[in-house]
């Protein structure tokens, strides 16, 4: 079955190199025995030389390979060492230096998959022989490959205008490249625009955010598309075509000066569920907040009296520049970009789901976002911290941590920001009302620059800390002093007893969740998200802002819960990655691709529906299928599906894999 000679009939000249990795491999595998066995047993396949060496990845080890390639005229290299994820590139580069095509080298793992996981030296040695034999059988069928080069369009699309998206856009625009920002809401700013103070420095959020928003709004390289959503993404790295739906604002931005008279005159008040977290009102024609960028308002059709009842037009009557245009319609805009940065952020965990905490049922239980608005000087109470009745200042306040996070009933993960947020709230309540403040926490997580110092500061201010998960919040008074209060039932795990603590106000430090439509977003852009719904980065440590789809980057809490400094860092990091791409002008992509042999293709179309990247196109005229190499990501699903064997894949062809199986089982064949 296995062909020992190549397609052109010549026997390959193979070099095999077995690494000791100090004692990492040699401690469990008899490396010399393996190398000797390969030399004698696999000679028939064309193995000319088989060596073992202390550290193959060292420059001396690489030179050994390079010299052998030159002196012995080797045409194939097999290295038995660590995982290809670690050093495949190292040995490929060594081959290239010796003028051997890098894809004619195969790295097989005898460390992560053998010496580190097995204990019996004989068994590990036998397995190493088998695994290297698999590599030798396989490498015979390798083809010389060249990376594909794709030009990069200099423009970038940033989806989401929160702090991460703003940072990314500004970095790119300042470097001189065009950026499109798409934001679903009428203004950029994101969650940060709702906050009053930011931990741990207690900077005013608006004071540090709005200058950046203004820069975005006025930057010559930035095209701002607010009140807009991405509808379709076509193309591939370097050359995406994105269709964006610009929802009708009913305000002509050429004439609008942002004077806000329309908002004053509009007779329709609407509860603002988004920006004011349901605590305040806006009009039917509105900007979410005074410093909104852009300054032009939008008309909310569902609540506009004119759109619902056919009469009113107060805004039109009072607009001094005739900017109101009720005839506007949604439009589709198409932009071409080379790279995309997704920074769509998070949704706040809906505290109603923890029914025992009474949010939505007990008036004076607030969510963290509600408290942000309550404490914000530009918020519905002008920054006065009062109960739901709007006048009473609380005398005792309980802040509950880990609401919806670190809880098997909801989310297992830690939402990162809630501890610091709870401490910030404690400080603000203490400072503005002098109330007694309790923090109920499971573990206090303040691991970042100046965070723990802030915790110490709040401790010194006299905030009381109770370690334990709150069991229930109730208004059912049982003991004297509980009437009219909210009673927090909690097990104080440090004191080892149950406590009932009566308070006037409860703030739930809710966790962060992926956007409710995160999975649709992932699908739209062809990237993956975890079961929770957070988008998945290329590597959790070494490649945190890239994704598995070339040309698509992620920044901020779309990837997982994050505080502001980390979101800003990620926004800048994603921009740096994109800039690197743009400046290179083109990108080399791994040549692991599927292709169709038109001669063999029967036009059955079985493969057509299998590709998630729409790389497979069917030509009706010729009745054959073709694969667009620029779209193909190389998963190989279509190759496995083709009943005619007409599809083949570079790097992982049928012949390579079948030969590898033969090699792996060589020792057991007899």
């Amino acid at each position: 079955m296995t062909n020992f000679t190549t397609s052109n009939g010549n026997k390959e000249r193979i070099g095999v190199y077995v690494c000791h990795c100090g004692s990492n491999i040699a401690g469990t595998v008899n490396v010399e025995e393996v190398a000797a066995w390969v030399r004698t047993e696999l000679e028939g396949l064309g193995v000319l030389i088989s060596r073992d060496y202390k550290f193959m990845c060292s420059s001396l080890g690489q030179e050994l390979i390079q010299n052998d390639i030159k002196e012995l005229g080797l045409t194939r290299i097999v290295v038995g060492a660590c995982s290809p994820h670690l050093h495949e590139q190292t040995f490929r580069t060594a081959c290239r230096r010796a003028e051997l095509n890098p894809y004619l080298c195969e790295l097989v793992s005898i460390r992560e998959q053998i010496s580190w996981v097995h204990t019996d030296k004989d068994q590990a040695t036998e397995k190493s022989k088998a695994v290297i034999a698999g590599g030798v059988y396989r490498v015979v069928h390798h083809q010389p490959l060249e990376p594909l080069h794709v030009p990069i369009h200099p423009a970038t699309l940033v989806v989401g205008g929160g702090i991460a998206g703003i940072q990314a856009a500004l970095e790119l625009a300042d470097a001189g490249y065009p950026v499109y920002i798409v934001e679903r809401e009428p203004s950029i700013g994101g969650h940060m625009a709702q906050f009053d103070k930011t931990f741990p420095t207690l900077d005013c959020a608006a004071c540090i955010l709005t200058p950046k928003m203004v820069s975005v709004g006025s930057h010559p390289n930035i095209t701002l598309l607010t009140w807009s959503e991405v509808r379709q993404v076509e193309g591939y790295v370097g050359n995406f075509t994105v269709t964006i739906q610009k929802k009708a604002r009913y305000v002509n931005d050429e004439f609008c000066t942002g004077c806000a008279i329309c908002q004053e005159k509009c007779p329709k008040k609407v509860i603002d569920e988004i920006y004011e977290a349901g605590l305040g009102y806006r009009k039917a024609i509105y900007t979410p907040f005074p410093q909104a960028v852009p300054k032009y308002p939008v008309i909310d059709r569902q609540n506009c009296i004119y759109f619902q009842k056919g009469t009113c037009k107060a805004c039109e009557k009072f607009c001094p520049t005739n900017a109101i245009d009720f005839t506007q319609e949604d439009e589709l805009v198409t932009v071409n970009v080379g790279n995309i940065i997704l920074a769509t952020g998070y949704d706040l965990f809906d505290a109603r789901r923890v029914s025992q905490y009474g949010y939505g049922r007990l008036a004076n239980v607030f969510t963290s976002l509600e408290f942000e608005r309550l404490s914000n000087a530009a918020g519905p109470t002008n920054g006065d911290i009062v109960l739901r009745d709007g006048v009473t200042v609380p005398k005792t306040v309980g802040i509950v941590h880990c609401v919806g996070s670190r809880d098997r009933n909801f989310n297992n993960y830690c939402s990162v920001i809630c501890c610091m947020q709870g401490l910030k709230f404690a400080h603000i309540v203490h400072e503005r009302t002098g109330a007694t403040v309790y923090n109920f926490y499971i573990d206090m997580r303040t691991a970042y620059k100046a965070y723990d110092e802030f915790y110490q500061r709040v401790l010194e201010e006299g905030t009381l800390f109770v370690r334990g998960k709150v069991a229930e919040i109730t208004d059912a008074a049982r003991l004297p002093g509980e009437e009219g209060k909210l009673i927090i039932q909690v097990e104080d795990t440090l004191a080892g007893k149950q406590r009932r603590i009566p308070v006037d106000m409860v703030i739930l430090s809710s966790g962060l969740e992926p956007r409710s439509d995160a999975k649709d977003l992932a699908k739209l852009f062809g990237i993956s998200c975890s079961a929770d719904g957070w988008l998945i980065e290329k590597h959790p440590k070494l490649d945190p802002v890239a994704t598995m789809t070339e040309g698509i980057f992620i920044a901020g809490s779309v990837q997982g819960p994050k505080d502001i400094p980390t979101s800003v860092a990620q926004g800048a990091a994603a921009a740096a990655r994109v800039l690197g791409r743009i400046q290179q002008g083109e990108i080399a992509i791994e040549p692991i691709l599927a292709s169709v042999d038109a001669e063999k293709c029967s036009g059955c179309r079985i493969c057509n529906g299998l590709c998630p990247y729409n790389a497979i196109v069917f030509h009706d005229d010729r009745n054959v299928t073709e694969i667009n190499p620029a779209l193909c990501q190389g998963c190989g699903t279509c190759i496995a599906a083709c009943p005619a064997g007409a599809i083949s894949g570079t790097g992982f062809s049928d012949t390579q894999i079948l030969a590898q199986i033969d090699g792996l089982l060589l020792l057991n064949a007899e």
Partner: protein, 158 residues
């Protein structure tokens, strides 16, 4: 090796999740039996049922197919396609007289080194209780007869 039956199991892994899980098991020095030999593919969707048949025909006693968890495939949804093929393949294999326990599909994320090692250990134990497969050898059994059957007369192929 001792006289006790030591099965050989071929494991198909995907480049992004299960192969990385195997890497992680190594880095964490998690121990599992040496009976498994892994093949790295880009995706579990790449697994052609032929590979599994070939492994059995060439002397493997069991085949372990691994991939990313549903919803976490790096190629979006190709592991679902692997799942579909696996279910059909398993049925065909039992009809060919290969015990269902000789082939198994396991999801393992890049963070689940310990889980993958556990699954490998379990699989090895399972195949040990089943004993050797002893399928007829491929060579000779197949080649001559099949080639004569599929030989295309020259006038047709031309």
């Amino acid at each position: 090796m001792s006289d006790a039956f030591e099965p050989i199991i071929i494991g198909f892994t995907c480049n992004w999740c299960s192969y990385r899980a195997a890497d992680l098991a190594g880095t964490a020095r998690v121990k599992y039996p040496a009976n498994i030999r892994l093949i790295r593919l880009m995706c579990s969707g790449r697994i052609d049922p032929t590979f599994v048949l070939k492994a059995f025909a060439s002397g493997a006693d069991g085949v372990l197919i691994t991939g990313c968890h549903p919803g976490e495939c790096h190629y979006i949804e190709q592991n679902y396609k692997a799942l579909r093929r696996y279910l059909l393949l398993k049925r065909s294999l039992t009809q060919l007289g290969i015990e269902a326990g000789r082939v198994k599909l396991v999801w393992a994320s890049a963070a689940e080194g310990v889980r993958l090692a556990d699954e490998i250990t379990k699989m090895v134990e399972q195949v040990k209780t089943l004993g050797p497969l002893n399928w007829p050898k491929w060579e000779g059994f197949f080649d001559d007869e099949i080639h004569s059957l599929v030989e295309i007369p020259e006038e047709v192929s031309a």
